[in-house]
């Protein structure tokens, strides 16, 4: 009795073993296939379309492409659920779910829609394409404004030093060296300032652009520090001459200090106006 039960157990084990081996083997040797035709929305065949098929259970993919008549065939497929992906140049990619049964020759025809174009959005090719000249103009403007910015920042250093040395150069001070130092620093400030201003003035404008925001404040302040940068050295030269003759600074030259302070303040405000968002 025990022997009989043992034989039955062995037999069942053999059957289970054979079954477990035979299922995948049969699947791998499946004659299942998928074929079909790929057409555009107008019914024309799409040759050389890329066909990819992914087994949704295993994530394994196979690829092929359509022939000259837009047909494809994928042989030796394991039964199961698949995602068929079809892509071709000039068409939008399409995905189709396909179930393949054992031994079946499934057909899946796919129609591809044309790719949306900018013309579909009402955008003409002229609007979609820029020109190298437009970009060059923007690049030149940007480059010149960068130089304007750098030179402007550098000019702030001797400007501060000029203001700082003004206490030794003016008033009751009779120090000649302080006056020359003030003159030298003021001259350096003026040179850097006008170089910086040149790049801002000569930077090309971009047609159709309306000025908005803090750049308007920056430009408005230039109407104060610009004339100030011209007037300050003229008044300074007169004051220098008067001091050199041992005279007290008088007349229009006495406005040199006030004009210089207003100019320096407007210049500082101009830098801050484009540095921080108010």
């Amino acid at each position: 009795m025990l022997l009989k039960a043992g034989k039955i157990g062995v037999a069942l084990s053999m059957i289970l073993l054979l079954l477990s081996i035979s299922i995948p083997v049969r699947a791998q040797n499946s004659n299942s296939s998928l074929s079909g035709a790929i057409t555009g929305a107008d019914g024309t065949a799409v040759p050389n379309a890329k066909i990819s098929i992914k087994n949704l259970a295993t994530d394994q993919s196979t690829e092929t492409q359509t022939d000259s008549s837009g047909h494809y065939t994928i042989p030796n497929l394991v039964p199961g659920d698949y995602e068929l992906g079809v892509s071709a140049e000039g068409y939008s990619t399409n995905f189709v779910k396909v179930s393949i049964a054992a031994g079946a020759n499934k057909t899946a025809d796919v129609t591809l829609a044309g790719v949306l174009s900018l013309q579909d959005l009402g955008i003409s090719s002229a609007q979609a394409q820029g020109t190298a000249q437009d970009q060059a103009r923007l690049d030149k403007r940007s480059h010149m404004l960068k130089l304007h910015q750098r030179l402007g920042l550098i000019a702030a250093v001797p400007l501060i030093a000029t203001v700082a040395t003004s206490f030794g150069a003016g008033g009751r001070s009779t120090s000649t060296s302080d006056r020359y130092l003030h003159l030298a620093l003021g001259s350096a400030t003026g040179d850097l300032y006008f170089m910086s201003a040149y790049f801002a003035i000569r930077a090309p404008s971009i047609p159709g652009t309306q000025r908005r925001g803090q750049i308007r404040v920056h430009r408005a302040l230039a109407w104060i520090h610009g004339p100030g940068m011209i007037l300050t050295p003229i008044l300074g030269a007169i004051a220098f001459d008067q001091k050199s003759k041992g005279e007290k600074v008088h007349g229009i030259a006495s406005a040199h200090g006030a004009v210089a302070i207003v100019t320096a303040a407007a210049y500082g405000a101009a830098i801050l106006s484009v540095s921080f968002k108010f």
């Binding site: 829609a113 955008i123 820029g130 484009v274």
Partner: protein, 179 residues
Amino acid sequence: MHKKVILAILLLAFPQFASADSQWILEESTLIYHVSHPLHQSEGVSHAAKGKGVCHAGQCDFLIAVPVKSFESGDSNRDLHMIQVARGGQFPLITVRTHLPEDASSLASIPADLEIQFAGQTVQYKQIAFQHVTKGSDTLIMGTIPLTLTDFKIDPPSLLALPVKNEIPVRVEMKWRQM
């Protein structure tokens, strides 16, 4: 007899209707880029995007285009600088393409693979989540695209010798209508 003919015509016609193409039109949009600089933050806003979606056989293709120069930050100087660094003179449009299954409109959050053309470069952004709300006949889509300057080979613009951060996230709010 007539009833049978009408029924036959309807049965023949029904699959055609079922597989008919549908379209989506972008009605309104707000795109906001955010730039971070050590001295301040700035945002540029555009409402000028145009977009369309075409659905066929359960799949939808979307195309959205927005002019680079349509973004306004409140400062024309900064806007012109942005156009320059983004090579907007030569490549005046930003285009976004995506491909979605038609039934994605039933999801609250739509994961979309985006193909973005900007500054002469084409970059793929995978699985960008967009929130989706239906209000009457309109569909609202909201999300943030994590753009970076390096993705598009853009040199970071600088102010006072300090460059802006590489990340320029773009907040998207769009109202679509199915036609």
